[in-house]
């Protein structure tokens, strides 16, 4: 069942993205360039290489422990790659501060929700909106015009985003009092408030029932329609299939496949990774 599906996946040794005919018209947004990441003796990422193009929804999948979140953390500047480099909008991310990377237009959510629990939903989003604000301490202290203007803009933006993700009714509730699903949505809204070019979602559907997953899919599509590129890390294959344009598959820190959802679904290595190998081997 495997031979014919080998073709679309890009083998590791394939050259620059230019080799792909489709890439000519596409603008690369995020380039993961032969990245290796070691922790002590453990190789968490092994020569991972792929590109994310502007305007697409890319799925990054793999069984538990495959290195998805590690890869994600390297991309958002939390880990420094031991080898290779990551470029975002053509600039090297390595060595940049986390808040600078956010300012460059990359935003993320967390697998285990990390909102600011004592702040209201609205304030959580305002923090995100503040990423591009320039109000200084002095101008906040004396409520100078710039502060008032940015404050008004931030508030309007926050309300718009609350509405966009569908939780405007909870605007003034502390984040910790929101339901699990609402917290997930709030995290997405907070990330969107930083005006990202690229939005990285780390298992946003974890713990969702099918109806909630369906709503989430629609939300992700709407985000893309607003012109935001989306990187989706997901464990659940079906969810990824429904929404992504392309998929990259990781296993044991290595990329084992890359391609259109339909192609990846048929890839024997992917099937083996998800079905063939007993679960405890990849835990």
């Amino acid at each position: 069942m495997g031979e014919t599906v080998q073709k679309p996946t890009v083998p590791e040794q394939a050259g620059p993205p230019a080799a792909e005919s489709t890439a000519v018209t596409r603008e690369p947004l995020l380039e993961v360039d032969h990245v290796t990441l070691r922790f002590g003796g453990v190789v968490a990422l092994n020569d991972v290489n792929f590109t994310l193009y502007k305007g697409e929804i890319l799925g990054l999948i793999g069984p538990n422990g495959a290195g998805k979140t590690t890869c994600f953390n390297a991309m958002t500047g939390i880990y420094q790659p031991s080898e290779g480099e990551i470029r975002f909008r053509g600039e090297r991310i390595t060595g940049k501060k986390k808040h600078q990377i956010t300012k460059m237009g990359m935003a993320r959510t967390f697998q285990n929700i990390r909102l600011f629990p004592e702040m209201t939903a609205l304030e959580n989003i305002q923090v995100g909106a503040d990423a591009h604000h320039k109000t200084s301490v002095i101008s906040a202290l004396f409520r100078l015009p710039r502060h008032r203007r940015e404050e008004r803009d931030g508030l309007e933006k926050a309300e718009r985003l609350l509405d966009f993700v569908g939780i405007s009714g909870r605007m003034h509730d502390a984040a910790r009092n929101l339901s699990y699903g609402e917290q997930r949505r709030l995290e997405i809204a907070r990330a969107l408030a930083t005006d990202p070019v690229l939005l990285c979602l780390d298992e946003p559907a974890a713990g969702f029932n099918p109806a909630e997953k369906e709503e989430l899919l629609q939300l992700i599509r709407r985000i893309r329609d607003q012109g935001v590129t989306v990187l989706l890390i997901e464990h659940d294959m079906r969810l990824v299939m429904g929404v992504t344009d392309r998929i990259v598959v990781l296993e044991f820190g290595k990329k084992i496949a890359e391609g259109l959802p339909a192609e990846v679904r048929e890839d024997h290595r992917v099937i083996a990774a998800y079905l063939g190998v007993p679960d405890d081997d990849v835990a």
Binding site: I78, H99, T102, F116, V127, T135, H172
Partner: protein, 369 residues
């Protein structure tokens, strides 16, 4: 025990509900009444009607001045500990820097012999405390929070060592004849003299109001949001674009500046500063005040600072096991810290986030949505 607590909580809740849901003019009227009350407080004509509240042992005006200084310090420390979640255990050290700066530049016993007026030394005192805050914060604020705690603890101790050992800082002999703040009555008598403590208290009270307005402005801006975000989850804050180090340093420096202001005011009233009247364990008292009132909450800090300083002064002179109760103060407030953290970490005046302020303006939105 529980029922008392429930009663207390439900009472506080009812008050808070009424406060937040009442009409806007009522709140302003109440705030105005409270302010007028505190301006009137040091006048004998007023406080003689207040029963056991005025202190018996010492001049009530002096006591009120001390209390107001503590309130100012608590408001300042609350920025650092309450908002940004940074533990500063040497906060009184900044008070000392402020007081000594004024002393060194104004006192005739200083080696500098600059003999500046108080008003000129005041901005310098604030600037220097801010600078010392930045110098202390820069190496430590990048590290885990507990390092900051111990470095600030050490800082206060080093100030003490410097104050007692350095020839320049005069040790126990100290600096005398530090000038008072400027200003005179129409008849030519100075407003800030030696006999009447009330003008000093009114000055500090006015400054507290200004500082609180400033802190509240910061609190309702991106700066305040950044502080809370750092306190709640520093990594997430950074990933949401908050330059965490910068805002931590600002929190630390603004807290320090307020401490320096308090020190300068103290020096201006006392007109004498020496290593003896700087009890650096007072840092613990101020911390206890912030925690007791409710950290992260300006009203809490004011209530805590006022309550703690007032209690200390009120029970001065009363003996317990043959030792003056005053001697027990550090022990008691050390215990207060432990007990509060275990049983009521949110403090007496629990914080209700700013939700209510928005509710007023945007009721329609909520009803509609």
């Amino acid at each position: 025990m529980t029922s008392v607590r429930e009663w207390f909580d439900s009472g506080r809740h009812a008050v808070s509900e009424r406060w937040h849901n009442g009409p806007r003019w009522m709140r302003w009227a109440l705030i105005a009444a409270v302010i007028v009350f505190f301006y009137a407080l040091p006048n004998r004509e007023f406080y003689q009607w207040l029963g056991p509240i005025p202190t018996t042992g010492s001049n009530f005006g002096h006591v009120l001045f001390t209390v107001s200084i503590y309130v100012l310090l608590a408001v300042g420390l609350n920025i650092v500990v309450g908002f940004a979640g940074l533990l500063d255990l040497g906060y009184f050290g900044f008070f000392a820097v402020g007081a000594y700066t004024v002393a060194v530049f104004t006192s005739p016993s200083s080696d500098l012999k600059t003999l500046w007026p108080w008003m000129l030394a005041l901005p310098l005192a604030i600037a220097l405390t801010m600078l010392s805050g930045v110098m202390l914060g820069t190496p430590t604020l990048r590290l885990r929070g507990d390092y900051l705690a111990i470095v600030t603890l050490g800082f206060a101790e080093m100030i003490r060592v410097a104050a007692t050992s350095s020839e320049f800082l005069k040790g126990q002999r100290g600096f005398n004849q530090i000038p008072h703040p400027p200003g005179s009555y129409p008849d030519g008598k100075p407003i800030f003299g030696v006999l009447d403590p009330r003008p000093y208290y009114w000055l500090v009270l006015t400054l507290i109001i200004l500082v609180v307005i400033g802190v509240q402005n910061l609190n309702r801006s991106r700066v305040g949001r950044a502080w809370i975000a750092i306190r709640e989850d520093e990594d997430a804050a950074q990933l949401m674009g908050v330059p965490t180090f910068k805002f931590k340093l600002w929190a630390f420096a603004s807290g320090a500046a307020i401490g320096g202001l308090a020190g300068a005011l103290f020096a201006g009233k006392q007109n004498f500063v020496s290593s003896q009247n700087l009890e650096l364990l007072n840092s613990i008292i101020i911390l206890a005040a912030v925690i007791l009132g409710g950290s992260g909450n300006i009203v809490g800090a004011i209530v805590g600072g006022g309550l703690v300083a007032y209690l200390i002064e009120r029970f001065r002179g009363i003996e317990f096991f043959g030792i003056e109760l005053y001697e027990y103060r550090f022990m008691l407030f050390g215990l207060v810290l432990v007990v509060m953290m275990i049983f009521r970490p949110q403090g007496l005046v629990a914080n209700r986030r700013r939700a209510a302020e928005f509710k007023d303006r945007r009721k329609e939105v909520i009803v509609g949505g």
